[in-house]
């Protein structure tokens, strides 16, 4: 009798554990909060503002997912992660989704057992140097000391770039972007290398941004995007299509301002399907019909998020470049909502 009770309890506990491991979507709904992994602070991508509220395109993406899944864009627990802790945090289930300007690579996708769900920023690795140094090309950096964030693809690209050009350098490994900026400004390194967007964002926080210049070379492809654990496809689909919804919304001209009127007034069937007034796309994802509408209404479409956080009118001041819609000569191309 006693034994069977114990075994019964064990079985139930085992089943519960199995279920918990399988359905992140249900977990998030049950918890009422999305655990979203972000950087420890990179202005424009994810950084707390003066009031302690997380701002940036990665932060906005987390909020969009929360709005789509939970109906509340504020129901996000932001978990700051470093380049080193991010994958462990995701693999262990501490966070549901990692939106931390993380480069999509084969080994991370396959060997580390994650699923990348798209690209929210096409980036490339660049170098920042003080203007006073008089360097005009990264190939002039022979013998220089270079600060680089450890545990990143940047570190490997850097080694490859200098080896390919047969020049030498000395790496200074640093943990966080803030530490990198501090070391660079203190003169512990001649150049700071990371994704070009990160350099622009870091430079914007300097006292005299004009004293520093970004070298013209972009030495790598860095498609940055959100990722989730491998094997939980329902959850992966929700996050992937939330990103696609934001991108499609810009392409279709749906903004946070006109989303309400578009959902009823538009005659474009794709807009109607996206905003849930036609078809059952939300139901297929395991969400309600208004999921994408809420995401767009609270965060705006991709273009609005970009312009608000890292666009040319912000201190970070990045041009759309590769991150324009495919119709404008960029790479953003969402599969159709059908």
């Amino acid at each position: 009798m006693n034994k069977s009770v114990i075994f019964g309890a064990l079985t139930i506990a085992g089943l519960a554990a199995g279920a918990a491991a399988a359905g992140t979507l249900d977990d998030v709904k049950a918890r009422g909060k999305l655990n979203c992994g972000v950087t420890t602070g990179l202005a424009g991508f994810a950084a707390p503002d003066a009031t302690g509220e997380w701002k940036g395109i990665d932060a906005a993406f987390c909020r969009a997912v929360a709005a789509a899944v939970l109906g509340d864009a504020t129901a996000v627990e932001f978990v700051p992660t470093t380049g080193k802790t991010r994958f462990t945090a995701l693999a262990s289930g501490e966070i549901d989704v990692l939106a931390r300007n993380t480069t999509w690579t084969l080994s991370r996708d396959v060997d580390l057992k994650f699923d990348f769900l798209g690209v929210n920023y096409y980036d490339g690795q660049g170098f920042m140097v003080p203007k006073a140094l008089g360097v005009s090309s990264a190939k002039d950096l022979d013998g220089a000391t270079v600060c680089v964030q450890t545990g990143t693809t940047t570190e490997l690209n850097l080694a490859d770039f200098f080896r390919a050009n047969n020049i030498s350098y000395e790496p200074v490994p640093i943990e966080t972007n803030a530490e990198g900026a501090q070391q660079y400004l203190a003169g512990a390194c001649d150049s700071y290398t990371t994704d070009a967007s990160g350099l622009a964002s870091t430079r914007a926080t300097f006292e005299n941004p004009g004293d520093h210049t970004l070298l013209p070379e972009i030495i790598s492809k860095e498609p940055l995007g959100p990722l989730v654990r491998h094997g939980d496809n329902e959850w992966g689909d929700v996050v992937r299509w939330t990103l696609n919804a934001l991108i499609s919304a810009e392409e279709l001209g749906v903004t946070s301002a006109n989303v309400g009127e578009m959902s009823t007034g538009s005659t474009n069937p794709e807009i109607k399907r996206l905003l849930g007034t036609e078809g059952t796309l939300g139901e297929m994802l395991g969400l309600d019909a208004d999921w994408a509408k809420r995401a767009i209404a609270t965060q705006g479409n991709y273009g609005e998020i970009f312009a608000r956080n890292i666009g040319e009118d912000t201190p970070v001041g990045l041009a759309r470049g590769l991150n324009a819609q495919w119709t404008d000569g960029g790479l953003l191309y969402s599969p159709p909502f059908r």
Binding site: R163, P171, A186, G187, G231
Partner: protein
């Protein structure tokens, strides 16, 4: 006084395992061992089951693949194309380097501070208590960061030494202190064996010669002692010993063709080239570990000295020994018996605390194998297991060596 008397003789019954005090402790120990084995087995099987559930496996194949990253301070040949194993070895050597350097300086600092804390001079005594209390009561990580910040912020930039007409001259024309480290002339051999193995062989040769000199001088001293005991006259050993130390080494260095590689301010526009660079992270880590652990060793030394009875000092001065010789000939040798066991733990602490190197970007084993390799390959469990194995091995080795020294120093009871 009560004693339990167990039944003598008789046949063994199963219940005696619990009720008979001859067997009870064995039974309990066996049960504890079985429980421990079961729980460790459960933890391991749990780990494997969870890994299997996430489609992960344990594999050490990554050790042979190219590391792909560069390391700023390497004592052995290393490029980004070297394997992860090689990167781990670079880290191991860097860990051992900083641990050995810090053990030596911490011991010197600790012994001096510990002796001076008992000085009769009020100012010296108080200064030393100030040192001990300040340094041992602030975490070593903070000391590492403070010293690193001071080195990078206060020292002049590398650029001020560069060019035809530099802002700053090097000390004596050969040593440069920069915020990226200290550059000193590097010795090398022009006639020695070539290649990486060759240069190790060259230095091994020099070390072997030095050891030869050490044994020769000890033999000379033993001979002098014997003559002194036999005849009462001690022959002078200073000049012969000096010659034994210097001449063979000088000859070997001359044959190998010792020359010096000086830091060159003209070769590069960013950094000094050539010479031996002692990086700022190494300096910060070394100094911080030395002063921090030195404070603890000072307390051990003070305790050791105070454990020697005052009568020993009085007897020594009654025999006419000066205070300095009393300390070195009478007090310290006896105090060592008390000092060495806690000193072992301080050496172990230095080795383990050197893993804080990661805070200043020093490429020790935690930074290479446990940091970059772990991140780039994602093999967390394997890397951490190897790290644990390394620190365990090193700590046990240090303990073993120091215990041998301890048993040679401890009171011999005949």
């Amino acid at each position: 006084m009560s004693t339990t008397t167990d039944p003598q003789g008789g046949t063994f019954r199963l219940s005696m395992l619990m009720n008979d005090s001859r067997y009870r402790s064995l039974t309990l120990q066996a049960i504890a061992a079985i429980l421990l084995a079961i729980s460790i087995g459960y933890i391991i099987s749990n780990l494997l089951a969870n890994l299997a559930e996430q489609d992960l496996n344990i594999s050490f194949g990554f050790l042979a693949t190219p590391a792909g990253y560069d390391i700023n301070q390497t004592l052995i040949e290393y490029t980004s194309q070297s394997s992860n194993t090689r990167a781990a070895f670079v880290g191991i050597i860097n860990t051992l380097l900083v641990a050995i350097l810090a053990c030596i300086t911490a011991t010197v600092l600790g012994v001096i501070a510990g002796v001076l804390r008992l000085s009769n001079n009020w100012l010296v005594r108080k200064l030393m208590s100030f040192y001990v209390e300040i340094f041992r009561n602030i975490p070593v990580l903070i000391w590492i960061i403070i010293i690193f910040t001071i080195v990078t912020a206060v020292m002049p930039s590398a650029k001020s030494y560069l060019g035809e007409d530099p802002e700053r001259g090097m000390l004596g024309g050969i040593i440069a202190f920069t915020n990226r480290g200290v550059y000193v002339p590097a010795p090398f051999f022009t006639n020695g064996f070539g290649g990486e193995e060759g240069s190790i062989a060259n230095w091994l040769l020099v070390i072997v010669v030095l050891f030869g000199s050490l044994f020769a001088t000890r033999a000379m001293t033993a001979r002098a002692n014997k003559i002194q005991e036999d005849t009462g006259i001690r022959p002078g050993t200073l000049w012969t010993n000096l010659a034994i130390w210097l001449v063979p080494v000088a000859v070997v260095l001359f044959i190998l063709g010792l020359s010096w590689d000086f830091p060159d301010p003209l070769a590069n526009r960013f950094n000094l080239r050539g010479g031996l660079q002692i990086g700022a992270p190494l300096i910060a880590l070394w100094l911080a570990l030395s002063v921090y652990t030195g404070a603890f060793i000072a307390e051990n030394v003070r305790a050791g000295i105070q454990a020697v009875s005052k009568g020993q000092t009085e007897a020594a001065s009654a025999l006419g020994l000066r205070p300095r010789r009393t300390m070195s000939l009478v007090i310290l040798p006896q105090a060592l018996r008390v000092i060495i066991p806690p000193l072992i733990s301080q050496y172990l602490n230095i080795t383990k605390n050197s893993s804080l190197a990661i805070a200043v970007g020093y490429a020790d084993i935690t930074a290479t194998l446990g940091g970059i390799t772990l991140n780039q390959t994602g093999r967390a469990i394997e890397c951490v297991l190897l790290l644990m194995l390394f620190y365990l091995t090193i700590s046990l080795l240090i303990s073993a060596v120091m215990n041998v020294y301890n048993s040679s120093m401890k009171l011999k009871e005949r």
